[in-house]
Amino acid sequence: MPEVTIRQQGASSEADALPPASRDYGRIGPRSEAPRWGMAVDLERCIGCWSCAVICKSENDVPLGMGWNRILTAGDDLDTPEVDEFGDLSMHWVPLACQHCDDAPCEKVCPTSATYTDETGTVLVNQDLCIGCRYCMAACPYGVRVFNWGDPEHAPTFGTGMVESRPTGSVEKCTLCVHRREDDLVPSCVWSCPAQARIFGDLDDPDGPLVQAIRSRGGSQLLEDKGTGPKVWYLEPRRRRPL
């Protein structure tokens, strides 16, 4: 598929390389005929460790200087807790990657239809068509797209990811690990979070874990008033213990 170029490594597929317990842990599980894949991030559980950001870079061969996933610190500063109205301190992190919007502004403005939405609602970039005009980067309200400003460089120099790097001069972003889906594996960030803060599932399945979590915990979206319809939900923290 032109959105991602799978790198052929030793194992016939990534799934076979994993030990069975890991594989079961990362399994998507039974799915409907037409899922609408979304994600929820539990802000109570996120500890700002950046593991998901690092493994995303590794999995997708994201070059040096770029990142598809970044962990924002709520408040004014990177390492400073917030002070609430009672003088209590708290600290939260907001992991941010492509929100895979239902009404994606990036898709509307792409002049060559390189950015498109697949049948499961995931917004992808067809690298054969991207001319690098960066209109999508101007149009994204979340700022989650990055551009290949030069030839991709990696450390180590051989790629570590399951997909090839994208060409110089093209735009890239989170693909919701579309290359893992056929192996029945959740995205790498969901799989790797040490606090199990991410939930991946079908937004159209009212009995599935994702919708259940959003309903019971109360989820919100980023920049809801902009009308983009993001598929990433953020679950509000319940406990508020002074630091």
Binding site: P63, L64, G65, M66, G67, R70, L72, T73, A74, G75, D76, D77, L78, V94, L96, P105, K108, V109, C110, P111, T112, S113, L129, C130, I131, G132, C133, R134, Y135, M137, A138, A139, C140, P141, Y142, G143, R145, V146, F147, N148, W149, G150, D151, E153, P167, T168, G169, S170, V171, L222, L223, K226, G227, T228
Partner: protein, 427 residues
């Protein structure tokens, strides 16, 4: 040296030496070479050699594109408008205005290519256009505009320009020129991500800025052409155009004030953050220079009827107006780029290996961008020179030939010598 009293007709000023011509051609050659070398360097090394980043992802190339489309549309709107209204006041300038307009829009189309990450795939916009994208609309309108402009130039270069054809052309070019710059405005104005641009006023604001910059550019080029070629425009024509520019500056200032006032008093927080960048923030020096030098000074000077007919004053004020509109384009673009909607720490990854995350964005164009822009300026000047040589001068010569004996070219001292010391081609 003879000057006739027929308004706008050809006078015969001093001829330039052919040394000046050679220097001009050499300068154009240097400019074009610098532009080409810079572009090729950028193409082989990637856009990372510019000062752009993941946050400030559009910069001087897009500013120049905005400015050039505006300058192109502005001049043509004035010419076509005056043709439709039926006034003869600017008829002498119409050839030059169309030349400047077509040159500007061709340069604008060229300025987009260096901004693409993969210009070798630009043809995909034609084979696989995405019809919801304002960039596709703009490309279609720009190409149409170029073709119509070419037809216009051809008609104007003929010895006898049929009046009805010119009227028909004006009926097409006027709405097309307004459309071209409105669609360019809609590239920016239809995005929820950029509240500062997301205003219905953006297209009207672009049009008024286009009228100011287009008119000013035509005046500057006319003054230069007057000094360096046998073509002349009398002070009254230029003064009339200057008076028109006065009203355009007023209209532009009005729309800008309406925009600033509404946002200041009742805009959304995101919108106000982006506005503060130009009022009191990083772009404040540029913004207030634009207001003083590009709006207040030209308005005060042009309001004085004596001052605006003096070539030096008019030329200076027109250059100031052009620079002011260019600064405005920079302010409009960068204020929104500097303040993304989600601006929590640590910001966006820099984009280049070793470049850290950065919340406080800085944009400093590199030599590559200046080189390409120099090439674009040289390209524009080359097109204008060609247009003057092949459309304006022959056109004016045939205009004055129609005057009969006693006209400007009927001289007793031998065969006429064409501009720049070259022998006359049509004998």
């Amino acid at each position: 040296m003879t000057t006739t009293l027929i308004p706008g007709a050809v006078a015969v000023p001093e001829r330039p030496s052919s040394t000046a011509w050679r220097v001009w051609v050499a300068a154009l050659g240097v400019g074009l070479s610098v532009g080409l070398v810079s572009f090729l360097y950028q193409w082989s090394n990637g856009l990372g050699v510019t000062g752009l980043s993941n946050t400030v992802t559009w910069g001087m190339y897009i500013v120049s594109f905005m400015f050039l489309v505006g300058a192109s549309a502005g001049g043509l709107i004035v010419v076509a408008g005056s043709e439709l209204v039926g006034t003869e006041r600017f008829a002498a300038l119409s050839r030059l205005a169309v030349v400047v307009s077509v040159a500007a829009v061709a340069t604008a189309a060229g300025t987009i290519l260096p901004d693409l990450g993969r210009p070798q795939l630009a043809w995909r916009m034609i084979t696989q256009p995405h019809l919801t994208s304002p960039l596709v609309w703009d490309m279609a309108v720009l190409l149409t505009y170029l073709v119509i402009g070419g037809v216009d130039l051809y008609l104007l270069s003929r010895p006898a320009v049929p009046g009805r054809a010119m009227r028909r052309m004006a009926q097409i070019t006027l709405p097309l020129a307004v459309l071209v710059h409105s669609v360019t405005a809609w590239i920016f104005g239809l995005m929820v991500a950029r509240p500062f641009w997301n205003t219905p006023l953006l297209a009207p604001l672009f049009i008024t800025s286009a009228l100011v910059s287009g008119t000013a550019l035509v005046i500057v080029v006319a003054l230069v052409v007057r000094r360096t070629t046998p073509v002349a425009f009398d002070d009254r024509t230029l003064g009339a155009l200057a008076k028109l520019m006065l009203w355009f500056i007023a209209a532009d200032a009005f729309l800008l004030s309406a925009e600033v006032l509404t946002t200041l008093l009742s805009g959304s927080p995101d919108h106000q953050t982006q506005l503060r960048v130009i009022l009191t923030g990083r772009l404040a020096p540029l913004f207030w220079s634009e207001v003083v030098l590009g709006v207040v000074v030209p308005f005060v000077v042009l309001a004085n009827a004596r001052w605006r007919t003096r070539p030096v004053v008019l030329g200076t004020v027109s250059v100031l107006a052009v620079v002011g509109v260019f600064f405005k384009r920079i302010n409009i673009l960068l204020s929104s780029m500097f303040e993304p909607l989600v601006d929590l720490a640590p910001g966006l990854p820099g984009g280049r290996p070793g470049q850290p995350f950065d919340v406080a964005e800085v944009y400093l164009p590199t030599w590559v961008e200046w080189g390409v822009l120099l090439g674009m300026v040289a390209f524009f000047c080359t097109l204008v020179t060609l247009g003057v040589h092949h459309v304006v001068i022959p056109g004016h010569r045939s205009d004055s030939a129609d005057e009969g004996p006693g006209g400007a070219y009927d001289r007793a001292d031998g065969p006429d010598r064409a501009a720049f010391g070259h022998p006359r081609e049509d004998g």
